[in-house]
């Protein structure tokens, strides 16, 4: 499971000295809440200027890891340096150089969007006039100028998230923590958030984002660490990760449910994998190593006289990633991750 990590050129596990090329280097980070071991020995190496994705289900330890790196939680064990500063001994130096957009909006619902930004700008040391200018600038850039004088209570989910991210960028940080930036957003708002992340990365800010969606990590991240039960279980570029899982998942719907066993046989032979019967009796899916092989499988199915109602080739879902990496499905913990 550590293969991907060991192959990667940037891995610094085991090295003790700070590395100028790394925005985050963590080794053995651990944190428990009561008897729950939320984070259980996480090693991370996040290259400067990259977008780095922490991928995992609810309760995997992503938020707890992020909170430790952002100096909000002390680790029980392990060490981490963020932008060269120790997160415990030099917490204040870390705080001066990073920003955090948490999973739950940090905005004041009673205040207007503009007041929220002025408030943060003042806390960062801007004088009153500059704070107002900076707020106006950010509202404009984030498409919130029209809503500037409305109370945040009236904002949509996407507007809140954008304002929350804007609040993190009042001073452009060297490293931005984004905890589940698109959870609960509609596709349009999600695209807007993605665009912001890309613009940030283009400007040289390192972004550490957590997500439950492989798709999102794939779209944004240069490297991904898959987290499960408080541990990193795989690490690499999206390409490496997907290669280790197969290009994607091939879904088929047959015209005739009776043909499913024979279709499964054909697929197992041509794609050299184990097909899964879906709940729906005419459907089945199988992980597909590459599109060419899928074309061949379609050919074989036609030759065997098996008629298809529809088919699709999609990226593996988080569940499928987890199935492939761990042999179990991503289980959303019943317990909320520590807020």
């Amino acid at each position: 499971m550590n293969d991907a990590r060991n192959e990667s050129a940037l891995t610094t596990n085991g090295r003790q000295r700070p590395d100028a090329g790394l925005a985050v280097e963590a080794s053995g980070l651990a944190r428990s809440f009561g008897r729950t071991r939320a984070v259980d020995g996480v090693d991370l190496s996040v290259p400067n200027g990259s977008v780095y994705g922490l991928l995992g289900p609810n309760g995997a330890g992503k938020t707890t890891t992020t909170r430790m790196l952002a100096t909000l939680l002390r680790p029980d064990a392990g060490t981490a340096r963020v932008l060269g500063h120790d997160i415990v001994r030099e917490a204040d130096a870390v705080r001066g150089r990073v920003s955090l957009t948490g999973q739950y909006a940090s905005l004041d619902e009673d205040l207007t969007g503009r007041e929220n930004l002025i408030f943060i700008a003042r806390l960062l040391g801007y004088r009153r006039r500059r704070a107002k200018e900076r707020a106006a600038q950010l509202l404009e850039a984030f498409g919130l100028a029209e809503a500037a004088t409305r109370s945040v209570r009236t904002y949509s989910g996407g507007m809140r998230r954008r304002l929350d991210i804007a609040a993190s960028l009042v001073v452009t940080p060297e490293l931005l923590f984004l905890d589940e930036p698109s959870t609960g957003l509609d596709p349009r708002s999600r695209n807007q958030v993605w665009q912001i992340v890309r613009a940030l990365a283009a400007g040289g800010t390192t972004v550490l984002l957590t997500t439950q969606y492989l798709d999102e990590a794939d779209q944004l991240a240069d490297r991904i660490a898959v987290i499960d039960r408080g541990k990193v279980i795989a690490e690499g570029t999206p390409v490496e990760l997907k290669d280790s899982l197969g290009a994607g998942v091939f879904h088929l719907r047959l015209r005739d449910a009776g043909a499913r066993p024979s279709a499964a046989q054909v697929l197992a032979r041509t794609l050299e994998a184990v097909p899964h019967d879906e709940v729906e009796p005419t459907s089945l899916s199988i992980s597909a190593p590459d599109p060419e092989r899928v074309v061949r499988a379609l050919d074989e199915l036609a030759r065997a006289g098996i008629e298809l109602a529809s088919f699709s080739l999609s990226q593996p879902s988080l569940d499928e990633v987890f199935l492939a990496l761990t042999g179990h499905l991503a289980e959303p913990d019943t317990e909320e991750e520590a807020a």
């Binding site: 001066g96 948490g102 009673d110 205040l111 040391g125 600038q137 001073v171």
Partner: protein, 274 residues
Amino acid sequence: MNTTPAPATEPLHAVLAEGPRPARPSAASAALTFGWRALLKVKHVPEQLADVIGIPVIFTLVFTYLFGGALAGSTHAYLQFLLPGTLVMAAVLLTVYSGVNLNTDAATGAFDRFRSLPIWRPAPIVGGLLGDTGRYLLGCSLVVALGLAIGFRPGGGVTGVLAGIGLAVLFGFCLSWLWTTLALILRTPTSVQVIGLVVLFPLTFASNAFVDPRTMPSWVRSVVRANPISHLIDAERGLMQGHTPTTQIVWVLIASAVLLVVFAPATVHLYRRS
């Protein structure tokens, strides 16, 4: 995937290319910024003030006009006795909202944001309470204004009234640390509010706010006499009538100091730990 027009990429790049980071604000400046925010909340959600001010206002009117004559011979005479009591009631009830607001911040991601900023760590709490002091001042002034409008005639004049309001606000500031401590222990803003009112209502009634305790059974009288709110009300009555009730003021200051010394460090400790 990149077809969504807003937010436009160009201004986004421009806004990210912001110049140098400003110097860190001083502890005082950070705290004052939090105070500014607390006052903005009063401006945007004045009903929050009305909630709590409503109770002393109604009590002032009900007790004066319904019971006043029976209790003191005339509504006018009773109002002179009652108003310092309802003023204190307003001041102490308002303090609960400091806890409610703090708990709201803790429940949302606001705390995480504040604690990830390079500012003086207790600034959110100290600043919030400074802003709240403004709220107490406003609340107390409203009750006094109502009193003056319906016939309250303090013998101590402007100085006496101002001194009275000042003492009530000072006590309120110290008492509010109790609720900020609770706010960092309890789960929801509502539980903070409920506990606050459940504690404060009996405390306000088991005082000399509404009637002279002379007719009470002796064990109740000893409770009333030990109640710091009684001391505060006595001090208020004295100040507003133009006396200097030194003993009572000293008791109030001692109670305030105890609240502050116990609960301010407790709040800051819980805040750092959370």
